[in-house]
């Protein structure tokens, strides 16, 4: 079939033999040459690949260290998270779970210079990194840049539950809930006071007070 020449003669046989052997030596010469190339691989756990300096020091190949935009483990900066739940809705596989309550109004500048207004605080912010596929769809629409990928990729725990990262501690959640209750009371009082003031301002038409 493939290797059978049309007419077998000693000449063709010899020709094939010579061709085969030269091809082999051609390949061998390339293999031999690459023995003297700089090594392209690194001894991974021994070399800290997060620090570019250390990598460059030990490594003579052409590969670079990890870029800063590497999509590794997710992290949330709770200082600038407004608990708006946009990331939760953007995640296609529902890794993120957020619950929020009212909080004191706060205006600040997020990552990238965007101004943000916080009116709610998270009482729960869990990311199940066991399910996460590091697609980046949650970090893209975040208005403040609170949720972002880090270059960290070594986070293997010994049980699955440990992969659910909780960014709000129970104490913080309790505090936020307590504050939310206070705010509710304050708001109710403010509302009542406002209604009373309005009623006093218009004495000609007495309104039935049903607050």
């Amino acid at each position: 079939m493939n290797m059978t020449p049309k007419r077998s003669s000693f000449g063709t046989y010899l020709n094939n033999l010579v061709n085969g052997v030269t091809s082999m030596f051609e390949g061998m010469s390339i293999t031999l040459a690459s023995m003297f190339f700089r090594a392209q691989t690194i001894q991974y756990p021994d070399v800290n690949i997060h620090s570019n300096e250390e990598l460059v020091k030990d490594y003579k190949g052409n590969l670079r260290g990890m870029p800063a935009n590497y999509r590794g483990m997710l992290h949330v900066d709770m200082e600038i998270c407004t608990a708006c739940m946009i990331c939760m809705k953007a995640c296609p596989i529902d890794c993120i779970a957020i619950t929020n309550v009212k909080c004191d109004k706060r205006t600040f500048v997020g990552v990238g210079g965007k101004k943000a207004v916080q009116t709610r605080a998270a009482t729960r912010f869990d990311i199940d990194l066991g399910k996460c596929m590091f697609c980046g769809l949650c970090s893209l629409p975040c208005p403040t840049g609170a949720i972002h990928h880090t270059t960290q990729f070594e986070f293997v725990p010994d049980n699955l539950e440990a992969l659910v990262y909780k960014f709000v501690t129970p104490q913080e959640a309790q505090k936020a809930e307590a504050r939310a209750k206070e705010i509710e009371v304050e708001e109710k009082a403010a509302k009542a006071a406002k209604a009373k003031a309005e009623a006093e301002a218009k004495p000609a038409e007495p309104q039935p007070e049903n607050n």
């Binding site: 091809s23 390339i30 596929m133 980046g136």
Partner: protein
């Protein structure tokens, strides 16, 4: 003489776990000694209901799943899907985003072809080319990682543009890589393409004639390997391909007959060269500007059905999308090149040796996840 010896065909299974099937595929082979009488591919081991998932997640959220359709060329898979949704929405994609898409798409095409070539060589017993080509692929992965932060499942192309802008010196880095890569390809040619042993092994093997290739709906390099000059980038141009100048390489029976394994291999080699060409032009033409078109936060394409085809490394990938105006697709069908490439195997395999079947699978560049979705 005594009794006649009874002979019968032997049925053997190749796969599902077989190193040369490039994923989980099973071949049921009826053999007469070393010669194949019948070969029936059995697919479905990697079915992950990706089409069904599209009915559950929102339009933008389905992009990462298209990565998993063809993990060797996820950029192109992203692109095909996003292009289809954009056509439904009527979104304008900014020019810079189009150029970025072409660049990452061509880089990804090169890296996919490197795997195809390397795997073919490895299946035929040459381990060195595979390692060397994987090393070259790492450079491409580095470049794509600089652009989007991931090395395999990119999720870079989004509906309406691309997700991230590239670093400032990225195009120069691509240029540097191309300089280096052309030399490496020369070396690869010496190592495999001109290697007499490799040529004799591939030439005149498993010939798929022009008519048969069209009948079986082969696409991409497999179709062009049979001498059909058809490339969606040229014949149904999309994106900025009309502005770019490139050839469509076809198989001409360079070492044997038109449509043999070597032709399919050779077309891939030539396509890498054309991709280098395209990349060079893109580096020169890359405009500054926006990278994301105007797309609403919640995408709701109008009711209707659309079928969009794009040229991916494994041929033409079609997305048939039916929308009922909701936040996720009503029905989505993915048509991939590997599936039809698989269907031609029963037709050409009879008469081959078992070892040649492996060369055939390698030359068709079948990727199992794309086969089953």
């Amino acid at each position: 003489m005594g009794k006649q010896l009874r002979t019968e065909l032997m049925t053997i299974n190749m796969g599902p776990q077989h190193p040369s099937t490039h994923g989980v595929i099973r071949f049921i082979i009826k053999t007469d000694g070393e010669v194949i009488h019948e070969c029936q591919p059995d697919v479905g081991y990697l079915h992950r209901s990706i089409e069904k998932i599209s009915e559950k997640v929102n339009w933008q959220g389905f992009v990462p799943f298209t990565d998993r359709v063809d993990y060797l060329a996820s950029m192109n898979a992203n692109w095909a899907y996003c292009f289809a949704v954009e056509r439904m929405l009527g979104t304008e994609v900014p020019r810079r985003a189009e150029f970025l898409r072409v660049m990452v798409g061509e880089l990804n095409r090169i890296s996919s072809h490197l795997i195809a070539i390397g795997a073919t060589a490895m299946d035929l017993g040459g381990f060195t080319p595979f390692i060397q080509l994987l090393r070259e692929r790492e450079y491409i992965n580095d470049l794509l990682e600089m652009a989007c932060g991931a090395r395999l499942t990119y999720n870079y192309i989004s509906i309406g543009g691309v997700n991230y802008d590239v670093p400032r010196n990225w195009t120069e880095k691509v240029g540097e890589f191309l300089e280096h890569f052309e030399l490496a390809m020369e070396q690869m040619n010496r190592l495999i393409s001109y290697n007499r042993i490799f040529i004799n092994r591939m030439a005149n093997l498993a010939v798929i004639p022009r008519e048969m290739a069209i009948q079986y709906n082969l696409v991409g390099p497999n179709l062009r390997g049979s001498g059909v000059k058809f490339d969606l980038r040229r014949d149904h141009p999309y994106s900025v391909y009309p502005e770019l100048d490139f050839e469509v390489p076809v198989g001409v029976g360079i070492e044997g007959q038109v449509g043999d394994c070597y032709d399919r291999y050779h077309v891939r080699m030539m396509e890498i060269r054309e991709s280098i060409n395209i990349l060079r032009q893109c580096i020169k033409m890359m405009p500054p500007g926006e990278i994301q078109g105007k797309v609403k936060n919640v995408i709701k394409p109008p009711e209707g059905t659309i079928h969009v085809r794009t040229e991916t490394p494994r041929g033409d990938t079609g997305y048939l999308i039916q929308s009922d105006g909701k936040t996720s697709a009503y029905r989505l069908k993915i048509r991939t090149g590997s599936f039809t490439a698989m269907s031609v195997i029963p037709a050409v395999a009879p008469g081959l040796f078992i070892a040649d079947l492996i060369a055939l699978i390698g030359s068709l560049d079948v990727v199992a996840p794309e086969l089953d979705r």
